[in-house]
């Protein structure tokens, strides 16, 4: 015979085992091992906290009382998993990208990180979940009682209640140990999730085992069991369509909104891909869970006494058959269902309570700033632990106060309806950018009040919390305000009635107020982030950096995350920004990352508030932000365009300027050339004209005068002709149209010719030459090269101002060049003039002797055509010109 003491021992052993599993999983995760911890299977199993003790025990009871109606409880989540997985994926994506810590955080975050909304959602969640926790405690207590009934000596109310207390304390301790190891609620609770997955297996296995035992052990096989089912009232299909659809919708809504489901589905999610597996695996799990519900109920109804509680058939049927070990397994299944629900619900609620209620109050009490002595991290952890204890104890209190009566049996659905009030705000927030904070608040308030009035308060029974007069005649005697026949909607199922009115008016208020109010900038920004989460999963920052002190931020972050983690985060960001050390620039991106990290620890609203205080902007105006961003983008685009343009313009301008300079220079050169040519032509013509007029008009000229004037005319005519020859020569050379007449010639011959042409060594002008060195045969234009020599010798002739002028001609070979120097012993050419002597019309000194100043310019052109050059050699005894020719023009001497 199983004694409660044995049962207690089994419980303790089981819990110890869970402890060990959780501990091992945490350790494995910490060391980075155990990738299987993050498998989609574990994720799916953890989702099974949807199946609480209410479903483990209650489903059978539900079936025994209302037939197939219990299926709605499984149908809703199945439809959501399969049909709405896109929505779920969106929630998961948002949860991960925004580091959402709870459903309150998500709703608050969506509506401009409003803490009011977060507090409101938290309160509804606590009010809605507390009875559910009480329900779990009750189921465990009742299951103990079921064993105790067999051993009546132990039955006592005191004992029963203390059982509930022990269970509550034990669960609180477990949750605190494994649920608050990290302050960052966004970090996964691997241990807890692992324990829950294990419990999911245990409860499924237990239920299947009991089912198999009932069908094959008690019911003598499938066909006999089916007969039993046919015979029972379960087979009567009398579920009203409205209630069926209503309950299915309700459980679907609740599946999305339940804080504990949100915790495992969104917060604990490791990988978005897991959801894909869960889409089919979770419905399979639910199907298995419901597989034997009907047979157990039918067989139970047939075998058990009529006063037996059908909620406990799962346990009492094995006990009746004397299968103690199976009964203990079944008990463990129920125990698992209850504990896993309480643990996760406590974690979820404590996160909300500590992040949205305790921490903000604490921060405000400390002067509204995070910059205080003391470790925020410790406070956050303490707040969370106290919240867990508080939530569990609240459940226990509720269990005690409600007297553990049958009213609890219906509390599951009541709870569902209450929590479903989140749905419009949540879904509206995910899909409708026009949804506003005021709209969400209005919808939640209306839905919550209607739920309280129509379902929650009446659920305790007439006269307990709500006076009988109100229930029968309506608030203030207004019959249209009767809680279970609102607006005269009589004859409806109580739950469906409450669902209909609360959801209808919730939605209406949400839509209407959202349409009438204008979203605040942060709301709009967040709205865009949520609705278009797939377009931009990385959130653009909502901070204007530059004002924040990185050091202050680091101090604050250290207090929240702990020194090591904070420093790692900061130095990581600094490195990413290309800086060394621990302090990154407070860029928008960095502040965004920091806010997300912090929101994992203290919630979005609090994190936002804390950074706001340091950054110095209590609220961020999105108009500002968008304007700034737009402006910045525009300016950047404009300036980059401008830059490109101005670079191009500068380039064009430079080219134009260069072209213009060139043209101007050319034009100036042309003008000055024409002017020079004009001058050079007009000067001899003036003399010619003047003297020819004199010869013609003036009578009485003596023969000498006639002779003299005629000579002048003759000389000037020749000068004119020479000038024209030179001009034509130069023009031909410059235009490159000159045809070179290449032939072999001896250098000494060419020099001989040049000396002869310039009049030779007359007037005491001496030319020194070294004839042997001149015996070089050149393949060149002999006439042109001679012209250069003539020019140089003639210049020396004309300009050498020495008393005994001497021109020395030297020929030498220098590398691959042949150099011919013409150096006289005059004063030479001044440094300043050396650069201009090769220009056209460049004449230096006062002497006007014959030349027009084109000689050296022509020489330069000729040498360029011949592949050589002519240059002035400074620093010689007099004027020295060097003619350079490439060696390949030279042939071997004869």
């Amino acid at each position: 015979m199983t004694t409660p003491n044995l049962l207690v021992l089994v419980c303790i052993l089981y819990v110890t085992f869970l402890f060990a599993v959780a501990f091992a999983a945490d350790r494995a995760a910490l060391k980075g091992r155990g990738t299987w911890l993050r498998s989609p299977l574990i994720y799916t199993l953890s989702l099974s906290i949807y199946c609480t003790a209410w479903t483990f025990y209650g489903a059978v009871g539900y079936a025994a009382r209302s037939g197939l109606e219990f299926v709605t409880i499984y149908l809703g989540p199945t439809l959501v998993m399969i049909g709405w997985w896109w929505t779920l994926r969106k929630m998961v994506r948002i949860g991960r990208s925004q580091r959402i810590t709870s459903i309150a955080d998500m709703i608050s975050s969506r509506y401009g990180k409003s803490n009011t909304l977060a507090v409101f959602v938290t309160l509804i969640a606590v009010v809605g979940t507390t009875p559910y926790i009480a329900l779990q405690l009750q189921s465990v207590t009742l299951s103990f009682a079921a064993f105790s009934k067999v051993d009546p000596t132990l039955t006592s109310v005191v004992r029963l209640r203390s059982t509930g207390l022990y269970v509550a304390i034990g669960l609180a301790v477990f949750t605190i140990l494994f649920g608050t190891r990290n302050v960052d609620a966004n970090e996964r609770h691997h241990g807890v999730v692992m324990a829950i997955a294990l419990e999911a297996v245990v409860k499924l296995f237990a239920l299947l085992a009991v089912g198999v035992f009932v069908v094959w052990g008690l019911g003598d096989g499938i066909s006999n069991t089916l007969d039993v089912i046919d015979a029972s009232k379960i087979a009567e299909w009398d579920v009203p369509g409205g209630r069926w659809a209503g309950l299915t919708m309700l459980s679907a809504a609740a599946f999305i909104c339940l804080p504990r489901i949100f915790q495992v589905m969104v917060v604990e999610n490791e990988d978005e891909g897991h959801l894909r597996t869960a889409t089919w695996a979770f419905p399979v799990y639910l199907m298995l869970m419901s597989l034997f519900v009907i047979p157990i109920a039918a067989v139970g109804l047939k075998l058990m006494p009529s006063d037996a509680n059908p909620d406990l058939f799962v346990l009492t049927l094995p006990l009746l058959a004397g299968e103690d070990s199976l009964a203990i397994l079944s008990f463990l299944g129920g125990f698992s269902s209850a504990t896993s629900m309480v643990i996760v619900a406590a974690i979820a609620l404590s996160t909300m309570v500590s992040n949205h209620i305790v921490m903000p109050i604490w921060l405000r009490m400390r002067g509204g700033t995070a910059m205080v002595a003391g470790d925020v991290r410790d406070v956050a952890l303490l707040a969370r632990r106290l919240s867990i204890a508080g939530v569990v104890m609240l459940g226990y209190l509720y269990f005690r106060l409600s007297g553990a009566g049958t009213a609890l049996a219906a509390i599951g659905l009541v709870s569902f309806v209450g929590l479903s009030q989140f749905l419009p705000a949540l879904m509206g927030g995910l899909f409708w950018r026009g949804a506003t904070r005021m709209g969400a608040l209005a919808g939640l308030s209306v839905g919550f009040l209607l739920w309280l009035y129509c379902l929650f308060l009446p659920s305790f029974g007439p006269g307990v919390l709500l006076p009988v007069s109100v229930i029968e005649h309506g608030l203030l005697g207004q019959s249209w305000l009767r809680p279970q026949a609102l607006f005269g909607a009589q004859g409806m199922d109580k739950v469906v009635h409450a669902v209909m009115w609360s959801m209808l008016l919730n939605c209406a208020a949400f839509l209407l107020v959202s349409l009438l109010t204008f979203p605040k900038p942060v709301e709009r920004l967040q709205g865009a982030q949520f609705v278009n989460v797939f377009d931009h999963s990385s959130r653009p920052g909502s901070w204007t950096g530059g004002l924040a002190q990185s050091e202050d931020l680091l101090i604050m972050t250290q207090r929240i995350m702990g020194a090591t983690e904070a420093q790692a985060l900061f130095s990581g960001m600094a490195r990413k920004q290309g800086l060394t050390g621990y302090l990154p620039e407070p860029s928008t991106e960095f502040l965004g990352v920091l806010e997300r990290e912090l929101s994992g620890s203290v919630g979005a609203a609090t994190a936002h508030a804390m950074i706001s205080q340091i950054v110095g902007r209590a609220t961020v105006s999105v108009e500002d932000l968008l304007a700034v961003a737009d402006e910045a983008a525009q300016i950047m685009e404009y300036s980059s365009r401008l830059e490109a343009k101005s670079a191009e313009q500068a380039r064009t301008a430079r080219q134009l300027r260069e072209a213009n300079d060139k043209l101007t220079k050319l034009s100036v050169q042309k003008d000055s050339f024409l002017s020079q040519v004009s001058h050079e032509l007009r000067t001899p013509m003036t003399s010619i004209r003047a003297f020819s007029e004199i010869l013609r008009d003036a009578g009485g000229l003596n023969p000498e005068e006639q002779q003299k004037y005629s000579s002048i005319i003759y000389d000037e005519s020749r000068r004119l002709t020479r000038l024209l020859d030179d001009l034509l020569d130069l023009s031909v050379l410059e235009s490159g149209q000159v045809t070179l007449n290449m032939q072999l010639g001896l250098l000494s011959d060419m020099l001989d010719r040049a000396v002869a042409a310039t009049g030779g060594t007359v007037d005491g002008f001496r030319i020194e030459r070294d004839l042997p060195s001149e015996q070089i045969v050149l393949n060149t234009d002999v006439d042109r090269l001679s012209q250069v020599f003539i020019n140089l010798i003639a210049n020396a002739h004309k300009y050498c101002d020495a008393d005994q002028p001497v021109l020395r001609i030297e020929v030498r070979s220098a590398g691959d060049k042949l150099e011919i120097d013409f150096a006289d012993n005059g004063t030479g050419i001044q440094m300043a003039d050396q650069t201009v002597i090769f220009e056209k019309f460049a004449r230096i000194g006062v002497s006007r002797a014959a030349g027009a100043g084109l000689g050296l310019a022509i020489c330069r052109e000729i040498m360029a055509r011949l592949g050589g050059e002519i240059s002035y050699v400074p620093g010689q005894s007099g004027a020295a010109f060097r003619v350079t020719l490439p060696q390949e023009m030279c042939m071997a001497a004869h």
Partner: protein, 122 residues
Amino acid sequence: MARRVLLIEDEPNIIEAISFILSRDGWDVKSHSNGHDAMEIVRARRPDVIILDVMLPGRSGFDILADIRADPDLGKVPVLMLTARGQQKDREMAERAGATHYMTKPFSNAEVLDVVRSLVGS
């Protein structure tokens, strides 16, 4: 007493031609052939008419003309400018600098004579 003409010109043949023409008409012609010290000569000689070439070695005829006009003693001595560069620009520059008359080479002897006569007569 013969009227005095100062001819500032660097081309020897042109000096000879103008000197011949004016001398035969009874002018006292003195010539100078560079720009450097032209002003000293002008001040020393105090001619009745100056014939000034633009392109002089050492100093431009325009600069010399500007100095003459700026000198209160020299007053409004008539200046005939000669240039071999027949461009419009040079004519304008000469007028701006205060030339009494402007003539482009080559000129006719009769014209030079007429101009010089008219300059003194005015």
